[in-house]
Every structure is written in structure tokens, then in C-alpha cells.
Subunit: 331 residues, 2 copies
């Protein structure tokens, strides 16, 4: 049995999802030789630290009831720099302009030789190669399946499960919010604005939906895939981005009558990284409905391999984080 | 760089596919730290042995031109027992009545502490648990992604990539031949016998198609999945099996008019292992066409995850063998 001391830095929906999943899977983890002990949790204002392992149920309750995780007056970055542990679970919010505090946290962890598992796209969309190099030179493990596709394990599928294949290209739907809006516009023959409002009411779209509907979220994910799967040394500025805000119900209907859906498709092919609405034949594996994500990999010797799963949700994203943790520490 | 000495035991379509893939991926393998040297190849009658590593191009040419792999008079099982090497690539034909020579080969390898990667379903459908125990007690690695779904990596997806999840149930199409026949019966509104004949002409069905069309092949794969993913200690006799020979074009058309396809679906759910034709809604991820395979895993915390890929083909199956080899020896 290996004892792994971990911090959870960022305690919004995903961070709390991770805490819940660690609690519910504690026995399973011990069965496969991993004693995962969370020694620190930080949100943007407060922290809880206990070198013997925190009571995660109590931390979760406190967060729900009082909006804080504890009384310790220490930032996430300081926790990483000063507290002995092996793993940082980095779940602070994505900032794609600067990388935000997540970038500082990852660098701080790697400088101490600490492993990082993250769902935070921003630092990877901006500084993938630099982060990979710092991690490598310090001997830290760096896993980020949760940054792309939620519970759909596209990164590890391509780089580990299909390791005998060279991946030639990838196309897919990497944003469930856009997929939901487009599906509903077609179903209801309703305008974009109306279905964005519905998605916001259901919690599927943010109050400010720009990041999703303009294709920015998909573009960030494509940058991560371009680097992780295709070794491209790409950043956000290398992506051509068109969102879904100009799509009309009339366009969707015309496509439908010819046997097509309109989907926001992200693709990495050759040196091209592109996100734009595209016609997809209704019987194509990419034509998935609702908030599902899908990715189709073209391989050199196995042909196409397509995977579909839930692209979002705090527990689904936490499951990807947990799978990454297991892949690092399982004996 | 790790030098791995391997034998290829069984040199039909899959064995030859493995040799071709090893040849074409030799540089890639060295780049990830694996120097894979094939020191012996055996078909059912002849063998080629060279402790310095065989010239696989020459062995492939000889097999094509003369029908033999070499002049050495030694069986595959004797190779395993007497020649120093680390890995047996077991690609002899499937025998689901006795396990055939493949079963002897695997046991012989494990008794010497040799790792086994295989595409041979028979021994696993009959003696999964026994083989797993012998491998474990001798410290041998035992990988068999290629036994199910060809290039569709369902076993490693479930047990490694999705390791944070408990897999609750699985359903899928695991036999491309049946899927092809059913799709073509619908498209041509043609009887079963006619489309079997077409599939035979195209090399998609065997001269004796019983093994595929009666659901036996799917059942074997389900047994392997029931053991590998669900820990069920199942054998072939635990599967309820119905094939596709009674399906009529009229039944397919009736289903079609209600928005359904008829597919040969294998499922593992609770303690039930079952293969039978089922109605599948046309917009369900399982409704794939042609010779594709598909598997949908229901997970505890990520919901459904579905994967689709080519279920057969010698190079596709060889790619699964190569991915298994890489997962064992990659540094």
C-alpha cells in the first residue's frame, strides 16, 4: 500500500466532485494499493490543512453551509510550496488569457517535484510545452485527461490504449453546451437566443455563454490535443475559431432535409487546428445528440476509432481526474 | 533501451500481420525504449529460429512463396519451452472446444515466467481464471486486447483508461460478420442465405460461417469481457446464445419502419451473459453499420462511454497486440 498525500487546489464544482469521488472510492483505491490522503484543500479565499488527512465529508459540508473550506489562512500556491505532499489536484477555474493562478500552481508543484493532475485547460492551452518540460526535468507526473471531454477519455485512449497506432487526425464535438443548443434549435425550430436561454435555465450554459458558443472552449481543448496527441507545440493563437452564434433554425432545417446535422466540429489534421460549424451526415458516428461529446481518431493501422461520452459534469470530470491518479500510482 | 526477445507462435493472417506491424514500427518502438527482437516464428508445421533476431521480411516472403516459415524442425510449444525469450505472441487459431495448442502454449510460457500477448480467444473462453492464476503466480504479464473487438480497445479502455469507474454493464456488437450480413439484408431486402454468400465472396464470412452467425464468436468474447472487466469467473457454458440465422428481411423491414435496426447484441449485465438479436433504435450509438464493432459501457460515475472501431482484419488485430506489448514494456 502506497500512501499518497494530496492537495485539492480549487474547490468549486469540480474540486468538490473530486472530494466526493475520493470519499466514495476510498475502499476501491485501497484495494488497488493506493491510500489517498487529502492533506489540504483550498478555495479562492480559505483553506483547510491537516497533515494526518482531512475529513473530506466535513470539508464538503462546511463549503455547502458556510461557503468556506476551513479557517486556515494560506493560499493554494503557498500550500503547494510549504506543505509536504506528493500530488496536487489542480481544479481552479480556467483562465485562457494568462493561465491564472492555475499556471502558478502547476509551476510551483513541478519545482518541488510534486505530481499534478488537473482539469484546468488555461495553463495547458497557453504553456503546454513549457509545463511539460518543467514536469519532465523535475521528474513530476503530469496528467490532464479531465481538461478535454469530461468523462470521455480521449487523451489516454490515444496515447496509451492505442499506443501501437500513430494518430493521423482527430475530429469531434468537444463542447456539450453548443451541441445541446444546436440540437434543441433543430428540434424546436427555434432561434439561437431562445435555446441559449433554455440552456442557461437548465445550467447547461453559463450566464455569459461566450466562452462556449464562440468556440473558445473547443479551441482550448484542441490545443491540448494537438500537443498531447500530435506533438505539435501549438498554442491558442494557432487555432482558427468560428462559433455557433450565426447558425439559424432555417440552416439546420435545410441540412436536416438533406440528411445532415450541423455540429460544432473541432479538428486537428496535418498542421491545421480548426473549430467551426460543419455538416455531419446523420448516420456518421460524430452525429451524437444532447450534451454528449464525441471524438473520432484516424489511425495509421487500425482505421478510425470513435469514442463517445459525457463531456461535462462535476462528477464526470472528477472521474477523469481519478482515472489519472490511478494510472500514476497503481502498482 | 530494453531488448525484448519474442516468439510469434502461429503464423496465419494475424501472426503475419504482427510481423508486418513490428517491421513497420521498429523505429517507433526503439524511440519509446523497446528493442523488439523476434527470435522464433512457428506455424503449424515449420519454424524459424535465430537467437540474434530473425529477418522478418524474409520469413514473411518465404511464408507467402513457399507456405512455410523456415526449415527448423521444432514446434511452437517446444520453442516456448526451450528457447530463451521474454515474450510469446500467441496467434494460433481459436479452438473453443479444448483450447487447442494455444492453451498448451500459454501454460508453457507462464510456467517459464514468460509474458504472453494473444489474439487467441479459445483458451481464455475456457480457462480464463486458471490462466490468470498461473500467470500471476509466475510473475508473467498476460494481455489479450486482441481477443475482443480487433482494433476497438474495449478491455484496456475499461480496466485502465476508465480505472476510476466501476463498470456496471456492457452491451455491444462484437462480430463484424453478423453486422455486415444484417445491414446488407436490410439494404437489399434479401434473404439471409444470399447475404451470407456475398459475405463469403468478399472474405468477410468464413466458408463455414457457423462460428460467427450462430453467435459463438460473440459468446466467447463476452466470456473474456465478463472475466476481464467484471471479474465474473465465467466460462462459455454460462452464456445464453442465439444467432442471426432465423432473421428475415421482413423482420428487418418492420423494425426499420419503426425506427429500429436489428443487431446481434452481446451483453454482460449483473450475472447475465447473453448474445441475441435485438431491436436497436437507429439513433442509438450501438446502431453502427458495416463490419464495425461497438461497445457501450455503463459506468457508476461517468454514465455511458461508447467506443467504435474495426472489429477484425489482420493488421487491425495486430495493432491491438502491439498496443498490449507497448503497455507491458514501455518505460
Amino acid at each position: 500500500m502506497k500512501t499518497i498525500r494530496a492537495s485539492i487546489i480549487g474547490f468549486g464544482a469540480v474540486g468538490q466532485g473530486v472530494a466526493k469521488v475520493i470519499l466514495s472510492k476510498s475502499d476501491y483505491l485501497k484495494n488497488i494499493g493506493i491510500d489517498l490522503k487529502v492533506v489540504a484543500v483550498a478555495d479562492s479565499r480559505t483553506a483547510a490543512v491537516d497533515s494526518n488527512g482531512l475529513d473530506l465529508s466535513a470539508v464538503l459540508s462546511r463549503k455547502t453551509e458556510q461557503g468556506t473550506v476551513g479557517t486556515d489562512n494560506i493560499s493554494g500556491t503557498e500550500i503547494i510550496k510549504t506543505i509536504d505532499h506528493e500530488l496536487v489536484i489542480e481544479t481552479t477555474p480556467t483562465n485562457i488569457d494568462t493561465g491564472g493562478v492555475g499556471l502558478d500552481n502547476m509551476v510551483a508543484a513541478f519545482e518541488k517535484g510534486i505530481d499534478v493532475v488537473t482539469s484546468n485547460k488555461g495553463p495547458l492551452a497557453l504553456k503546454y510545452c513549457e509545463l511539460g518540460e518543467i514536469a519532465k526535468s523535475s521528474g513530476s507526473q503530469f496528467k490532464f485527461e479531465a481538461t478535454v471531454g469530461g468523462a470521455m477519455p480521449i487523451i489516454n485512449l490515444a496515447s496509451e490504449t492505442l499506443a501501437g497506432n500513430k494518430i493521423l487526425s482527430m475530429e469531434g464535438i468537444l463542447n456539450g453546451t453548443c451541441n445541446y443548443i444546436l440540437c434543441r434549435m433543430m428540434e424546436e425550430h427555434a432561434p439561437y437566443e431562445q435555446m441559449v436561454a433554455e440552456a442557461q435555465e437548465l445550467g447547461i450554459a453559463e450566464t455569459d455563454p461566450t466562452y462556449d458558443v464562440e468556440g473558445i472552449d473547443t479551441a482550448c481543448k484542441l490545443v491540448i490535443l494537438a500537443n498531447a496527441i500530435f506533438g505539435m507545440n501549438a498554442t491558442y493563437k494557432d487555432v482558427t475559431v468560428t462559433g455557433i452564434t450565426k447558425i439559424t433554425p432555417e440552416a439546420l432545417l435545410m441540412a436536416h432535409n438533406d440528411g445532415y446535422d450541423i455540429k460544432l466540429i473541432g479538428e486537428v489534421s496535418g498542421s491545421k487546428i480548426n473549430v467551426a460549424p460543419k455538416l455531419v451526415p446523420k448516420d456518421n458516428p460524430l452525429a451524437v445528440g444532447g450534451t454528449l461529446n464525441v471524438a473520432s481518431l484516424q489511425t495509421d493501422i487500425s482505421g478510425p476509432v470513435t469514442i463517445t461520452g459525457r463531456g461535462a459534469g462535476s462528477i464526470e470530470t472528477a472521474s477523469a481526474i481519478l482515472s489519472d491518479i490511478i494510472s500514476i500510482y497503481r502498482e
